[in-house]
Symmetry: D2
């Protein structure tokens, strides 16, 4: 997480202020439940909210205390006592630090997931709009980077839409994975606190109670969360790579938007680089990498060790802030992508109609020519196109062996682009429903 | 995937024989659908099944053809023609190789997932049985590898059960991710084949139609699949690590089963090593590693390139076979784990009752002693235990400042283990329901 | 490691036959040293060599024994005793299994490194030959996939040569990392065996003695080894990616060799796909991934645990066999790469001379035109090229404001390609020395 | 890189101030070389140093300009012009942004490597001191976490010393990998700048000229650099894991230092957790993870794309700052590690002398008892130790079948710890030389 690739709303989830606010809420809700059980006085719970609720927690003060006591939660509680007064002694009763830390971390991840889901909605909307806009914009489909058969640019975007719709569903599942709360004490036995406190805090914080915790919420949940972010990042890389390819000088079928007056290069007016999608490619590598330490975090020793903590202090913000930035940047790229249908057509025509060779071959066979002869007929005309730059249709019409089997109209019919787009509606319906 | 860590049923999913059988089924079902549409003769479709259905495909023969034509699907189709005869020309019409390859790969992954789910059921069953058996077996809970508070061995296993139950749900989701079929042609436009063929094949092969494919089924699905396997492997590593710790010479609370007559070492009768769980730790590292190339596979160029293929030829079998072996091995370990409740008790007692110091401290405070004085009182007795090996309860009862505040009965009550296990039923109900 | 991506020489390093042969040699050399020390009879050492040296170890027999005793080294020793007879009791005296296993693994890695170094020599030779051949073949240099300034195809290959020369040096360092031998007993103290035995075996096996081992040779050595393989794989990916780009339909500046009669596609004669370099891209992902578990293997518990073993049984062969195959395949690709200088020139000309705009701009400034005016002058002519397809040189010569500052000859001089290649010799000398 | 895990000296290498200072130096040295060549006036080069040398670059001002021109190097040069005045137009002539950026990045990495090497020296010194201190401190060696044979605590530390000495050598090699400078222009051809400028800047900045660059310095160098950091981190994890194990309650052979008055837990005086080494375990996971995107950065497109940039903006500081912090923390842990030789002895004795069973077995055999009988004799006494807690030596002496073969003195000799430590001097000499 570096400022250059951060957006404020996501970054603020990870600020000390937000963290201490969440800690306070967890403690105060727990106090309510403890008061309800009669463990602490009801007045105490009330005063905790009254004094702490409107308070601003002094991060520097807490840091100063932590340097002394070397324990972040104790430092916070000490500062809280300065604010709340004597009733502060009823805070945190029967709880362990991890109860606060882990529940807080999950609250932060849930909020981060909510922002990512919103990002995703924006991206899906942009993809859908552009897909519909270019539903019938013909372009060459490529396998291995080599021209294959025609498709439409809308279909490319519909594919991306479907992929990100899957990613959205995965993000929702990932959110559910980490939406749990644990207030279960030193080794998860509830020895010093009633399970109903956990349930109360869970409900108030928008979480569910962790069925069984040790001292910590189990980290397989977080491994799954960060693995999903890695998969989403990989899908970002896919679309970014597609755009980078389309913007190549020799292809130039689409281009990242350049604002008027912007200079790609101080010397070369033609230089408009796909810097945003290249940047997204790099960011994807980072988000993907964070999945690995998250998985290594699962095997904590016994009821917990603290090795996961340093990892999460880093990848918590790093992965979510970076992915938020990347989704937002990708949405902007898609939204304003400059599309060049004429260049798409130009590239389609580049092979002189050779992309239709398969259909001509089939037609000859169906007209009774043997497969071997048909292949030879097609190939000899194709080679003239490939090697001498001739036009495939013209050559075929001039080939007597071909015209002996097929009429001009039949040949021309094989060059009909509509043949390739006849099922676009079907596919769009599958992806977008009946729009 | 190496024989040492393979089980036959999973390995057979990845055999050439299985692969060609699936290829045949995809082609034959597609032929049925094409016949239904009138694209090919109904008789042809029938003959394909009649001849190919009972046939054994000759792997060596197919390999020989592939060496010549350098194309695996063409090699298979050539061999199929040798079996089916002239009607073979109606096979594969309008399809592209990836239609067969990708759909087959997904069938294999789905079958692999089914085996893994079965493995998981076995593991869950073993965990549940052992958890119930040791529901009340007291043991020390440890954070940071240091004694914290008592828990039960059953709770440890209940935690593992809950974790693997989550893993099972993730595996089901992963199975759904890859349970798709694509028969959509060279760039996914269905130019040469009707979408209804795809739907027919999907249904027959136990899959659903991929809403929008390019030449290939999008690889975000597979990235997610292998990421889930990585998370499951990480949970295996967690339980394996727990057992390795418990079997340490100094701890020895549980031990992998050793068959009678088995020798841990030719010279040292005490040497019984946790080799199975150590092995599982290593296998987990491998399965986790495969998630990374699976994610890098997502960003194929344009409508596809073939870079994913070599990766999948390796991680397809490697990840599923290894995970199947690991789940099965872990099930065996859990099933036959030798548990030493007396050693658990011995370790619990090792700190002379110090694990109860927190409760004594709290009791003193509640009896009116100031927090500072209470801490001092507890500490001076605790230190005698820690440094001189005294018994904590005895020391407390002999300390007049302590007994001034608490009766003997009150002090003893703080050493009641039942205090720590009173919510075990609640937690078991959360995990296992009302059993 | 799958047959499809294996070459026999490298694969044979990892065969059971090779392994048992190395085990025998380690044991026999150790026996020699023990005999020299008087620990065992000299005759015994002699007989071990005489009987075991020419023997063929029966893998199936050893496997059968292992299934019984559940210990691979004991199984081997048992079989060896069947061959050697009573003197076999002098084999393995004072040694521990890891002495044999770890030393053997390192011998295998060293042999694998030697093959990889040989592969690398072949690759470097091919790169050098092609680089010299195309030293002056002009081609457009691209940043961001966008045309930048001219370079030569030979320079691209010289860059690859320099990169693989670095990789070769890294491989040599990696080889040295793992070229160690340990014969130090159960916890590395030489309690039961003299250090001179280790030194003797090391020398005979082409290794050096590990200065301090525990029960095992420390795994940071192997982590470094596999990390280097991952870096080499990444360099393979770079060159493979370059070739894939150059073979794109729209670029087509170079192409993987296709044998006469080979069919890229049964229907489309233009379809020649860069399948080899795509395959290399995927293989690179795999080799890179193996670095991660190798690093996780370092932190073995205390004097050793066995978690590294399963990892190494897999990545030992998987990484070296795959990289060997990849290097060999890449060498073939480079060796036979079909280069199209005329297409390179065509692409260079595609922007109508705009690649020279920077030089014209500079010349105008040096001729006294203000930087602002100069930029305006260049831009207005460049735009006509960019938007209307005009020729840049023609436009400049027709622009009176330009010709007021520069003569025709001066303008034309700025379009001299030699300007860009004047230091090619210097760079080649840096890379290849004085050839 | 987060403040919690940062040290100021390393962090400052990555500050904007440092970066701009390096950029200035590169530009000013290049100007000197250009002046020497007569490309720019000598006075200009002088003035650039005179004005820019003592100047403080205004980071906020540069950021403000960048927001406008969207180009970091141009923003810097604009600000530099504000400082230097008209002569600023002679800055950066013939250079491309990457010349500055890449050379600067390498300067930063070299400085970071120098700090890491210094860290390493401190760690090695601490390890050596403690190793010598505990050269003869007996402790049990463990394989699989199970007691094996005696070793000394000094040997454990000598092993760590040797491992980190290797890591130091790797760091030096990694430093050399990235100690290169490129001033070669838009596609690396030196079209607009003489190669001698590169050589001059390289020398002045403590680097060597990159033999052949494209627009960028090739990223295989950086992949290797970060891979080495990952290996070093893995060695940190190994030693951290060892200490965590030794501090376990049941083992307690060594302990991280706790300052007087420090509270491990507010309630439990026995709670002293290995939090520093646990923290190091987590940090190691992070540093290791950064190797993966660094390797993915190698395959930039053609003469460069910008995808590596975002990765390096993150892992440059993240990996070096984290590793610097980790090495320093580990040094502190080693330096002040509290060692409990009496507990080591206690654990050694725990098995009642069973660790010597192998030697007794051997002695019986050598005394003429058959191997089968000897094993039976040893085992029946060992079992009494294992199952009834008897003392092994006492039992053996009381066993008539044993004493029939061995005298009391002979039996006792087998319990001599000196047997296990007789080669400690040899090993120390191998590791530390003649000290």
């Amino acid at each position: 997480m570096i400022p250059r690739y951060s957006r404020p709303e996501m970054a603020s989830i990870w600020s000390p202020e937000t963290k201490f606010r969440i800690w306070f809420e967890i403690e105060a809700h727990a106090a309510d439940a403890q008061a309800e059980l009669g463990v602490i006085p009801k007045d105490a719970a009330k005063i905790i909210w009254e004094k702490g609720g409107p308070a601003t927690f002094d991060v520097e003060r807490i840091d100063a205390i932590e340097r002394e006591v070397k324990h972040d939660v104790i430092a916070f509680l000490t500062h809280l006592a300065e604010i709340v007064g004597p009733e502060a002694r009823f805070v945190h009763q029967g709880m362990t630090s991890s109860d606060v830390l882990d529940t807080c971390f999950n609250v932060q991840l849930v909020r981060a997931a909510d922002l990512l889901l919103k990002d995703m909605d924006g991206l899906l909307e942009a993809l859908k709009r552009r897909a519909l806009e270019h539903k019938d914009t013909l372009t060459i489909g490529r396998s291995h980077g080599i021209h294959a058969e025609p498709t439409t640019f809308g279909l490319k975007l519909a594919q991306a839409y479907a992929e990100f719709a899957r990613c959205r569903a995965r993000l929702e599942a990932a959110r559910a994975e980490v939406a749990t709360c644990a207030i279960s004490g030193a080794v998860g036995t509830f020895a010093n606190i009633d399970p109903s406190v956990e349930e109360h805090v869970a409900e108030k914080m928008g979480l569910v109670a962790e069925p069984v915790s040790t001292q910590v919420i189990p980290r397989d949940r977080h491994a799954m969360f960060f693995a999903v972010l890695g998969v989403v990042a990989s899908s970002i890389e896919r679309l970014a790579t597609e755009i980078r390819h389309l913007q190549r000088t020799e292809v130039l079928e689409a281009e990242e938007y350049f604002s008027p007056g912007q200079k790609g290069s101080s010397a070369m007016p033609h230089k408009r680089n796909p810097v945003l999608t290249e940047n997204l490619t790099g960011l994807a590598r980072m988000v993907r990498a964070y999945a690995m330490p998250a998985m290594e975090n699962v095997a904590l020793w016994h009821e917990r060790d603290i090795s996961h903590s340093s990892v999460e202090r880093m990848i918590g913000p790093d992965a979510t802030v970076t992915l938020d930035f990347a989704l937002s940047r990708l949405t902007g790229v898609v939204d304003k992508l400059v599309v060049y249908p004429e260049n798409m057509q130009g590239n389609l025509d580049r092979l002189g109609g050779l992309v239709h060779s398969q259909r001509v071959l089939l037609a000859l066979t169906q007209a009774g020519v043997s497969r071997e002869d048909a292949y030879r007929l097609v190939q000899r005309n194709a080679m003239k196109v490939w090697e001498e730059g001739k036009d495939f249709l013209t050559e075929l019409k001039a080939d007597k062996d071909v015209t002996a089997a097929l009429t001009e109209a039949q040949i021309e019919e094989k060059f009909d682009m509509g043949y390739h787009t006849k099922h676009v509606d079907t596919i769009f319906r599958r992806v977008f429903g009946d729009t």
